[in-house]
């Protein structure tokens, strides 16, 4: 018995001697319940995997991750942010969705807590804030990139757009898509909208696109309405090419969705779960093992955020005893100068206003899985 206690004590001693200093407190808000929960949980799971991997390495830099639910609402997001602040958050992962992140980014700015958001893509998130950075494309870039991709690959000339006119994300992409379309030889033949509350019947929009002979329908929206659009188009015998953006990611893991409907849908997203590079293969395998599904772009963004922090903290020789404000200055220095390689892109760089530069990847859904287009 005494021997056992002795070994126990030794073990504890050994563990504490190789304990790696206090962990950095990393906090983020995300919709973990409600309609946008699929994004929040994915980003959180992705970040959690990265934290686990980094902590297992046992280096000087250790993380403690905490996510709070914001139900995709700006008011709740600020509450969640304050709860994290009470917990002692040193580095922030912002919020997962755009509007909540605009609200928390303003808090980040006034509290001088550095933020790197995985997926809040509206331009207002980083505007005028020197310490808020994005891992994902900013919305306007997605619209331009989509128009360019469709035009240059020659997918279609006559294009229809269906967008959600009460949604920041959809509107942001739509505006720049429409602006860029003529430049790449695209002719917008049908331009129809929907809003919260009338997002279940798309017959009017689809009939309009069909009658005007659109060969491709651009869907700048989240996957839920998109899934209904695909189902209703099939029911009316309309089979154009479909093109979505990163919000479409997640459609395959949606409960009760018939995957065959999404066959051939193209989308532009920075992350390709099918890629063969070592980083992606490792991440996808681990995510599948833990959560039983293929990670979407949000998970990949969350994963990359933590690794980007890891790289920046290592380079800045930061330690967890530093205050949030000290870390903030160091992180601004690092993020504006460093180049990061992650699962959502190589040679990722940030501009001083917090926007990211990386190449989008075209993807197509084949046999119920995402496959790279190129």
């Amino acid at each position: 018995m005494t021997k056992r206690i002795f070994t126990c004590a030794l073990l504890i001693l050994a563990m504490s001697s190789c304990a790696f200093g206090a962990p950095f407190k990393l906090g983020g808000t995300a919709p973990l319940t409600g309609g946008a929960a699929i994004y929040g949980t994915a980003a959180r799971n992705g970040a959690a995997i990265a934290v686990e991997e980094i902590n297992a390495k046992g280096g000087d830099i250790q993380f403690e991750l905490r996510y709070e639910d914001d139900t995709h609402d700006a008011e709740k997001a600020v509450n969640a942010y304050n709860a994290l602040k009470d917990w002692g958050m040193q580095l922030s992962l912002g919020s997962v969705t755009s509007k909540p992140c605009e609200a928390t980014a303003a808090e980040n700015f006034s509290d001088r807590i550095f933020a790197l958001t995985p997926s809040a893509s509206s331009a207002a998130v980083t505007e005028g804030k020197d310490n808020v950075f994005q891992m994902c494309f900013v919305d306007p870039n997605q619209g331009t990139a989509s128009a360019q991709y469709i035009g240059e690959k020659g997918f279609a000339k006559k294009v229809a757009v269906i967008w959600k006119n009460d949604d920041v994300y959809s509107k942001g992409v739509y505006d720049t898509f429409i602006e860029a379309a003529p430049k790449y030889g695209l002719n917008i033949v049908s331009d129809t909208t929907f809003a919260d509350g009338n997002d279940t019947d798309f017959s009017v929009q689809l009939t309009d696109a069909k009658d005007k002979g659109a060969e491709l329908v651009f869907l700048p929206m989240y996957y839920q309405p998109a899934s209904l659009i695909l189902a209703q188009a099939q029911a009316m015998g309309y089979a154009p090419k479909w093109f979505g953006i990163d919000g479409m990611d997640g459609i395959l893991t949606m409960e009760g969705f018939d995957k065959s409907l999404a066959e051939g849908v193209m989308l532009l997203t920075p992350f390709n779960a099918d890629a063969k590079d070592e980083l992606t293969v490792k991440f996808v395998a681990k995510y599948k093992e833990k959560h039983g599904e293929i990670p979407n772009q949000f998970a990949a963004d969350g994963y990359d955020c933590v690794y980007a922090y890891y790289q920046a903290l290592t380079q800045a020789k930061a330690n967890a005893d530093m205050s949030a404000e000290e870390l903030c200055t160091k992180m601004i220095e690092q993020f504006t100068t460093m180049t990061f390689n992650g699962v959502t892109g190589e040679n990722v760089k940030w501009s001083a206003n917090g926007e990211v530069t990386k190449d989008p990847k075209g993807m197509v859904i084949k046999n119920g899985a995402y496959v790279g287009l190129d």
Partner: protein
């Protein structure tokens, strides 16, 4: 409330009003001291202003639901009108009025005026209805306001103000600023809402509501609520009195909306949807119809509760619902109520 009037009131009523005012003042002093001495967590400090805004919402809706007896399901609509017009006016005044509290006060007044106008216009058709019909139509108007704001663009440049609907056709000159951007709402709001201003607004709305309720008009509201036909037979102008309650309530909601919006850097119309209207109705029902102190306590408790339940992570909204159901059952149970009245130290002997 003048002293003379207070004395003329029935003593129970006067006491109730006095308790309400003093409860609000005491709570304010406690939280203000705790906040400035750093004893309050960031989480609580962040909720002080929204709690004030929700209190005003609850008190103003109580005027319609509890005192004049009409079920309104579109109260968040007035809040959003106040929020958008208030914030827009605050942005326009930014360069001319540099004093933040003054700008906030003016913005709340603008919000109240716009919401009152909307309340008047909506009141014309709505107040001809009664009961369930009125409830459904207010619900519809709440949704209409939300849709309009989602499609409304408003900007300012050197040539003046520009409006457009559906799509942004304002074509602002260089250096202009698009303030309301349809579905994107308003971004980059200067956060000038403060707890003291919130407290002042709560006190003002209480004064307005108590004075109105205990005036001749207030008695008319209740007469109409209790028996419409009898009230009409003695010559009370039903539509006029209902309109008075409805517009006052809308104006207070507008001021609350402006206060609420200026506590965040961004605001969207979708925030003020049907769910928000119902939430405010829950404050009123839980606090007791016609009971202003109850509304105030319910608004504060139900705003803080979901935050305090964060420890339960995914189960917190389930717990919130269960607590709500238990409280509703508890407060409506005669035995439990009696138990609490016995505990009340202010209870006078002869009432027992």
């Amino acid at each position: 409330m003048t002293m003379k009037r207070l004395i003329n009131l029935k003593r129970t009523e006067a006491r109730r009003i006095f308790i309400t005012y003093s409860a609000v003042v005491i709570a304010y002093v406690i939280f203000q001291v705790m906040s400035s001495s750093g004893f309050l967590s960031s989480s609580m400090r962040g909720m002080l202003v929204p709690i004030c805004a929700y209190m005003v919402m609850a008190v103003s809706l109580n005027l319609v639901v509890g005192i004049s007896g009409e079920l309104s399901l579109g109260h968040a609509g007035f809040m959003s009108i106040g929020a958008f017009s208030g914030v827009a006016s605050a942005i326009l005044m930014q360069s001319t009025i540099t004093n933040a509290p003054v700008r906030l006060a003016l913005a709340m007044i603008v919000g109240a005026i716009f919401a009152a106008i909307a309340g008047f216009l909506i009141g014309i058709p709505v107040l001809r209805l009664k009961g369930d019909y009125l409830a459904i139509v207010t619900l519809a108007f709440g949704e209409i306001i939300k849709s309009i704001l989602n499609n409304f663009y408003f900007g300012v440049d050197a040539q003046g103000l520009h409006f457009s609907m559906l799509t942004d056709t304002t074509r602002l000159l260089k250096g202009g600023r698009l303030i309301i951007r349809g579905p994107m709402g308003i971004s980059g709001i200067m956060k000038i809402a403060t707890f003291p201003m919130g407290f002042i607004l709560v006190m003002i709305s209480l004064m307005v509501v108590f004075n109105l309720v205990n005036s001749r008009s207030g008695r008319a509201f209740m007469a109409i609520r209790d028996d419409r036909i009898a009230a009409e037979s003695i010559g009370l102008d039903i539509t006029k009195y209902k309109m008075m309650a409805f517009v006052t309530s809308a104006a207070l909601a507008g001021a609350a909306g402006a206060l609420f919006a200026m506590n965040y850097s961004t605001i969207v119309a979708n925030k003020f949807d049907f769910n928000t209207s119902i939430l405010i109705l829950v404050f009123v029902v839980l606090g007791g119809q016609g009971n202003m102190l109850g509304s105030i306590i319910a608004a504060a408790a139900l705003t803080v509760l979901p935050e305090k339940l964060r420890g339960f992570s995914d189960y917190r909204m389930l717990l919130y619902a269960i607590i709500l159901i238990v409280t509703m059952l508890g407060t409506n149970n005669a035995e439990i109520r009696e138990f609490f009245t016995k505990l009340n130290p202010f209870r006078r002997k002869e009432e027992a």
